[in-house]
């Protein structure tokens, strides 16, 4: 390579060992190369989701109907929100086994204070969410001060908060939420008008394209390689298609649920926090190599505290949403299913159990997989015994893919 060549090339493409790739074909070949090396990202879960949907659609033609898909979005939300917290904890290489119990006790607190004690709704909700924050901070303190493994802390939490939930609920066991309250209305009857849903899609696509173009200009100005406009245009168009088709289908029935939209917003915000802020970078660093993070001056303790707190908070929010959708909170709220579904969703979505690798979107994708299975088998009027077995199989496949791709990444030097 001559000096003149290198002067014209962007700063990050000057090394002669780099395989040149430019334009759309370059982007495609870079993507396939990444897949081959075992950096699968969310490809397996998307493929799995498509397979599951096709199978259920063949078995029962009403599976992909507008009506059923709206139900699916409603069912997915609470598990998805809880799984979002699990994703954060898994990024640190830790685990929270108590999200189910925490979601149950938060819902019970809201039910008791709102219905039995007659508190204003907002105050009840704040109390429920605050309980989640407090639980997470407590876990974080135990972990950082005494070095108790998170597995054990949260296993104790699983039992302890189940007990607290029963205590809070008292001997009645079940509290019905008033059907006309704003909380229940939000979770069951609030849908976006079709026009607004389409406008929102347009807004998201335009915002995406603009940020990408802005990033392109900034990179070019800094003398770095920038994605060609054609690639950005194709990606934006792809995003538009991916968003428009479901919105159109959902609008065929009741539309896009406000509760599901809240979940999507939480996913996007979490994704940005994890990828684009100093806090998120620190989370990945701690998950990858705690000692290196500590020596780099990162306050490791704060990271653990905030992540455990965020996880329990998401669990509390998810529990309250679940109660609102079912219009009741009882002793079974946040039972075994919730816990395992949320953890399985995060893992199935592609967040590694080994820490330092994952994405907020895996909560969305994983929750969709789990709830699709449950929804589809219910449509086929199969019992929960089949559902458990199928979900277990999918979870095993997901974890195996995670382990295999981790091995492949190591072999290809991308671990």
């Amino acid at each position: 390579m001559t000096a003149q060549d290198s002067a014209q090339l962007p700063a990050d493409l000057q090394d002669e060992r780099l395989i040149a790739s430019s334009g759309v074909s370059g982007a495609v070949s870079a993507f396939t190369a990444r897949l081959r090396s075992g950096d699968l990202g969310s490809v397996p879960v998307v493929v799995g989701l498509v397979i599951i949907w096709v199978v259920f659609q063949i078995a029962n033609s009403s599976f992909l109907s507008s009506r059923n898909l709206v139900n699916l979005t409603l069912q997915t939300t609470s598990v998805g929100v809880i799984a979002l917290g699990i994703v954060l904890v898994l990024l640190l290489g830790e685990i929270d086994l108590s999200v189910g119990s925490v979601s149950g006790v938060a819902a019970a607190l809201v039910g008791v204070t709102f219905v039995n004690q007659g508190w204003p709704l907002v105050l009840s909700l704040v109390a429920g969410v605050a309980l989640g924050v407090a639980v997470g901070l407590f876990y974080g303190l135990l972990y950082t001060r005494f070095g108790v493994p998170s597995f054990v802390i949260t296993l104790a939490g699983l039992l302890g908060f189940l007990g607290l939930q029963l205590l809070v609920l008292g001997k009645d066991g079940t509290i019905n939420l008033p059907y006309d309250s704003a909380l229940v209305g939000f979770a069951t009857r609030s849908f976006l008008p079709p026009a607004m849903a389409y406008a929102l899609v347009a807004l998201v696509v335009v915002a995406y394209a603009l940020t990408r173009l802005q990033g392109r200009t900034a990179r070019a100005a800094a003398g770095l390689s920038a994605a060609p406009t054609s690639v950005i245009a194709i990606k934006a168009a792809g995003l538009a298609v991916v968003l428009l088709i479901p919105v159109a289908i959902l609008n065929g029935d009741r539309g896009v649920s406000s509760m599901f939209l809240l979940f999507l917003a939480l996913v996007v915000v979490t994704d940005l926090a994890v990828r684009r802020t100093r806090w998120g970078r620190s989370v990945f660093a701690v998950g990858g190599n705690v000692e290196a993070a500590r020596r780099a001056g990162i306050n490791v303790r704060t990271i653990y505290l905030t992540v455990f707190a965020a996880c329990s908070t998401f669990a509390a929010v998810g529990g309250i949403l679940a109660a609102a959708r079912l219009v009741a909170v009882g002793q079974a709220s946040g039972g075994t299913d919730t816990n395992l579904n949320a953890i399985a969703a995060a893992v199935i979505g592609g967040t590694s159990l080994f820490g330092g690798r994952g994405s907020a979107y895996s909560a969305l994708l994983g929750a969709l997989v789990i709830m699709s299975i449950s929804n589809g088998l219910a449509l086929l009027s199969l019992d929960s015994n089949v559902r458990y077995i199928v979900t277990a199989g999918v979870l095993l496949i997901a974890v195996t893919i995670d382990s295999l791709s981790r091995r492949s990444r190591q072999a290809h030097g991308r671990a």
Partner: protein
């Protein structure tokens, strides 16, 4: 160093270009005297190799300078002013950067993220990835570092490249002294050459480099002076251009009748 004149003591006379001076540094661990009256001065634009046998006190001395340990006795003069280094963070703030043997890189993060770990550049609340990447390239170019891409996880880099990233990271704090602990210990021939080139680059930038190494070939190749520690004490400082390897080895082992000196003596007899 920004200085307000009256509060700071006048610079001590420690010789031209001297950045760091150790005077009578001692350190005990229980009954073991790990360091005893160590004297050392480190000059800008010079590579000082620190050699010694296992247990000679090299690591203890490095950790004392880096602020991991505090010396029981003795004083440190940095940039003409006496200093006390209580913690690694304080050492870094002063301008003493250390690259420990385990490098402390996050394998799952890319080169840019590792370089700026804990001191990310931001635009508002959001990471300024573009500026960090631009500056990373600028720094790596200055070091003539051979890193193909800064957007690949550090796990995919070779040992020499990882060492390069760790050294480059230590330079971001604009240090005056860089300590490298066994930078070539686990490296192959080409990678060792790469790291030694990098050490040359650091010297050209006017940094004082303290190189801890077991490998006499590396030391002779890149160092200007060699300080020998033996059983926790100074055992001579040699100027590399005027010294033979066997003299240094003799100082390290404390004996002249070793295999290296015997062979050298044999050779010189055969030559004459």
């Amino acid at each position: 160093m920004t200085v307000t004149p009256p509060a700071t003591p006048a610079p001590l006379d420690v010789g031209a270009g001297t950045v760091l001076t150790l005077q009578g540094i001692s350190k005990r661990f229980g009954a073991v005297q790990a360091l005893k009256n160590i004297e050392l001065d480190v000059r800008a634009g010079e590579v000082l190799a620190l050699v010694g046998d296992n247990g000679a006190g090299k690591s203890t001395l490095v950790k004392t300078i880096a602020g991991v340990y505090t010396a029981d006795d003795g004083s440190m003069v940095f940039d003409g002013r006496p200093v006390r280094v209580g913690s690694p963070a304080e050492a870094q703030q002063l301008g003493i950067a250390t690259v420990f043997q385990d490098l402390a890189l996050c394998d799952n993060l890319d080169v840019v993220a590792n370089l700026y770990l804990g001191r990310e550049l931001r635009k508002g609340r959001v990471l300024d990835e573009v500026e960090m990447e631009r500056q990373s390239w600028e720094l790596l170019r200055q070091l003539s570092a051979k890193i193909p891409s800064v957007r690949i996880p550090v796990a995919s880099l070779s040992g020499g490249q990882r060492q390069t990233v760790a050294i480059a990271r230590s330079l971001l704090g604009r240090p005056k002294v860089v300590m490298l602990d066994e930078p070539t210990a686990a490296l192959g021939v080409a990678q060792t050459a790469e790291v030694l080139n990098l050490v040359e680059r650091l010297r050209e930038r006017g940094l004082a480099v303290i190189l801890i190494s077991h490998n006499m070939a590396d030391v002779m190749a890149v160092a200007d002076r060699v300080a020998v520690l033996r059983l926790g004490r100074n055992n001579g400082v040699f100027v590399v251009s005027e010294t033979k390897t066997q003299d240094i080895i003799a100082a390290i082992t404390g004996a002249t009748d070793n295999a290296v000196s015997e062979r050298a003596a044999r050779r010189s007899r055969e030559d004459s």
